[in-house]
């Protein structure tokens, strides 16, 4: 059955003009553009916001410290 499927795909591609194929492909990729795990919107809804249906603002702060093996700051050493 998988061989028939591959043959059928070849037939389909042979029957389409390049423009027709690319138009259809663009429609498909547009339809599936959010398929990559949870979207940012879903992530925020699921993990971050205890107050539903209200606009929220989030700020993310990341502190990064670099240490050498001796425990000295690389930044400090560079300075």
């Amino acid at each position: 059955m998988e061989t028939q499927m591959l043959d059928r795909l070849r037939e389909v591609l042979a029957s389409m003009s390049k423009k027709e194929f690319l138009t259809q492909w663009q429609e498909i990729t547009e339809r599936n553009k959010d398929v990559a795990g949870p979207t940012v919107r879903e992530f925020m809804a699921n993990f971050s916001c205890p107050v539903l249906d209200q606009p929220q603002h989030f700020q993310l702060t990341i502190d990064i410290e670099f240490f050498s093996n001796a425990g000295e700051y690389h930044f400090a050493m560079a300075a």
């Binding site: 061989t3 591609l13 492909w25």
Partner: protein, 180 residues
């Protein structure tokens, strides 16, 4: 020879157990469904169904239920987990499509499946696919180069129709108040 897979289907609990058992499973049409529109089941692992219930429903202050069903793993299941000829065919089809696309375009799994389904070129009733998640384990073969197998992949089955589901087996298993 066909084998049976136990699948787990997570739903919002709307206090409608009788309706769910009479009419389920229910089609998922979310825009980000990994394998496109279909009836989704977690393969053989109720913990994944609970995890999805927690993430998909409880964190949004909704309740969830889990149904169990028996799914036929037969010639009409396109098995990208356990059947190498299907994996090879899928890759050949992806390469074929890629040859027609502009350089650098990288089709996603759902794009390939969607193209096949849209052009009456997908003769299967169901798709089985897996990824690696936190509960997957790397088990070494013992070779010097550290080769390993990946076990306990997170596996989903997407039914395009209900033909591969043994319908009488479909029943609620969580929460226990609905179990008959």
């Amino acid at each position: 020879m066909s084998r049976v897979i136990i699948g787990y289907h997570t739903l919002e609990d709307r206090d409608n157990a009788d309706e769910v058992e009479a009419n389920g499973p229910f089609m998922c049409t979310r825009e980000n469904a990994w394998l496109g529109d279909g009836y989704y089941f977690w393969d053989s692992d109720p913990d994944l169904a609970h995890e999805w219930g927690r993430v998909g429903y409880q964190l949004r202050r909704k309740q969830y239920m889990i149904c169990q069903g028996e799914i036929l793993n037969d010639d009409f299941l396109f098995d990208l987990v356990g059947w190498i000829p299907h994996q090879k065919t899928f890759l050949a089809m992806m390469d074929l499509l890629q040859d027609h696309l502009p350089a650098g375009a990288e089709p996603k799994m759902v794009d390939v499946l969607d193209f096949l389904r849209s052009n009456d070129a997908f003769p299967y009733n169901a798709i089985r696919a897996a990824d690696i998640h936190s509960q997957s384990r790397e088990v070494k073969f013992g070779g010097k180069r550290g080769e390993y197998a990946i076990l306990n992949q997170r596996t989903q089955i997407c039914l395009l129709n209900k033909k591969n589901l043994i319908l009488p087996s479909f029943r609620i298993i969580f929460p226990t108040k609905y179990v008959k």
